[in-house]
Symmetry: C2
Amino acid sequence: MKDFEWSVPTRIVFGNGAVDRLGDEAKPYGKKAMLVYGQSSIKNTGLYDRVRSSLQNAGIAVVDFGGAKSNPILGHVNKGIELAKGERVDFLVAVGGGSVIDTAKAIAIGALTDRDIWDFFTFKALVEKALPIVTVVTIPASGSEMNENVVVTNEQTCEKFGLPAAAVYPRVSIMDPSLTFTVSKPYTAYSAADIFSHVLDAYFTSTADWSPLQDGLAEAVLKAVIRSVDRIMVNPEDYNARSTMMWCATWALNRSIHSGLGYTDTPLHNLEHPVSAACDLPHGAGMSIIIPAWLDSISRQQLSRCAGLAHNVFGIICDDDAEAASRGIAALKDWFDSIGAPTSFSAVGISAVAVENLIETACETNQLRAMGMPLPREYFAGVYNLAR
Amino acid sequence: MKDFEWSVPTRIVFGNGAVDRLGDEAKPYGKKAMLVYGQSSIKNTGLYDRVRSSLQNAGIAVVDFGGAKSNPILGHVNKGIELAKGERVDFLVAVGGGSVIDTAKAIAIGALTDRDIWDFFTFKALVEKALPIVTVVTIPASGSEMNENVVVTNEQTCEKFGLPAAAVYPRVSIMDPSLTFTVSKPYTAYSAADIFSHVLDAYFTSTADWSPLQDGLAEAVLKAVIRSVDRIMVNPEDYNARSTMMWCATWALNRSIHSGLGYTDTPLHNLEHPVSAACDLPHGAGMSIIIPAWLDSISRQQLSRCAGLAHNVFGIICDDDAEAASRGIAALKDWFDSIGAPTSFSAVGISAVAVENLIETACETNQLRAMGMPLPREYFAGVYNLAR
């Protein structure tokens, strides 16, 4: 095991109807909140009214800021920063999935600085502070409700960059699984792929030479995702399945299963971010395309790890590691197909020619390049071509 | 899944040599610390000097308070409270295992109240505040370094009671696996049994009707404990094994694997506490005696759960649940035997007659009785007799 520090200041309030506790939970953070949300869906479901009245009953004034999109964009974030500064809000309440929470996180940073917010994403400046953030999760996938990550796309440059900053850990996250009953089957499938990506990035890039606890925890999350999503596909209002999936999403990226692995790389995210930035595809849909192709691309170098995944997650019993690895990857791909997560670029209408362009774009716009460590063309070409 | 709240304010600093960061990590909590420790072992290993000099280099004055014993007793706690009040210490530094950390926790509560500390253990008073606590873990077992539990024995009444209080979460816990190289093989085995008990209490008393994530996490901890302890028995200085076991101990009782289970009972602790209180046996040694007997006693009622444990932790493949359960319990007992953890009262010199007395004592001194919910004689007799 590698050395690590662990400190997760987020309080979780998890349960059926938990959303109505929002006002009381948010009270310690001030009298004026900016309500960050996405498109019209929370108005259609009545959640918007529930949230506003819970805040207002707690004596909290609300500044409305809707319109966050899947793959949150810098232009929208900058509008939010301007509004937060102008209204002098005390804190932010994010109601939505990862895109909404990340929009709120970026605004929380930007509201307390005069620097261009993009400077933080390109590591020209370090985040020192942020306004407090309270979240109400409606799409479990990103884990952003209990972590320090923010991902934003600069739509001018087509760069989708991530930023870790301890200051943006949400203070409280309200997790009410009943709010996720209305997440569509396709989005549930994309979310499952997103959760897989958070687990697998760590599982395959660990630099620890022995980590049975972390491996077992990672495999437990993956198995529980599979079991819960299979139940959700049959009954989208299965509370046990929705709650399990919701907690899995948090666990896949709240540092718990990563502690002691000493991993430093996120190959799946390096590969996927240029895709969803360029094609405006949901991040999770990009992931279900990338993951099986990437596993194919590394399976020779990571044979025992791939075989372990096959055995421990998919129950494949086979003495030959190469065959086990290959059967495991096929089982994952089949499972993504069975739940409606795309497993090829062609499945989402991205042609072979478009894939060629995507390879070039990825070389130009990936975050490591911006950090002075450009990735070679083959890094993207190898996997993207396998995913055609 | 059941509703829950999660909030773990402890910061973990984990790694080889981490103990030398104690002074810097403790600095935010004041200028004068009470150093709580156990017997002479930390002086023999040189740890005492390392700890003192790290604190002194950080400008922290140290009030010395050694002498905590396995199964910390109220008399010693009360001496510590008097000293902490007299010296007006700002915070406590606990260097040791669960007994030392729990001694510090009890002193931290007592230092800020005029009430008799035992009133809190008998629920006549509620804990509202405590001095800050910093820990350096030397025996991983109790999980006390990252939880809100305190266990103290009232040696006058022979009552060993536990108390949960959010105020006693350690602020920082320093976890340096190299400090555990000197934990003896017997104590390592007892610790393994203690870790099992924390996981199994939750695993078997969950009131959730579907919890694949929590079950998988629990099983992952148990499997990792087995793998790491087997390596430690071969080489006590196996860093990977010591670090894995250390992190397993924390995880077994830091609320993570329990969240969403809605469990309310701790049968193994109800059964064991009277034993170690009356016989001054290490808690973990009591647990390795109690656990297999208790599993035998519940296996008919909890057949599928016992079979799941057998399959998922011990790899037993068997279509018949009753046979799987029985083979799983035997496998656990064999494993305890193989590492030198006692699995019967007779193995620790407690005779059949003494067991009879123990049943009576347990009826008189168990914590639920003090809370007005006395447990029947059969509760103890059933399991103790199976463990003769």
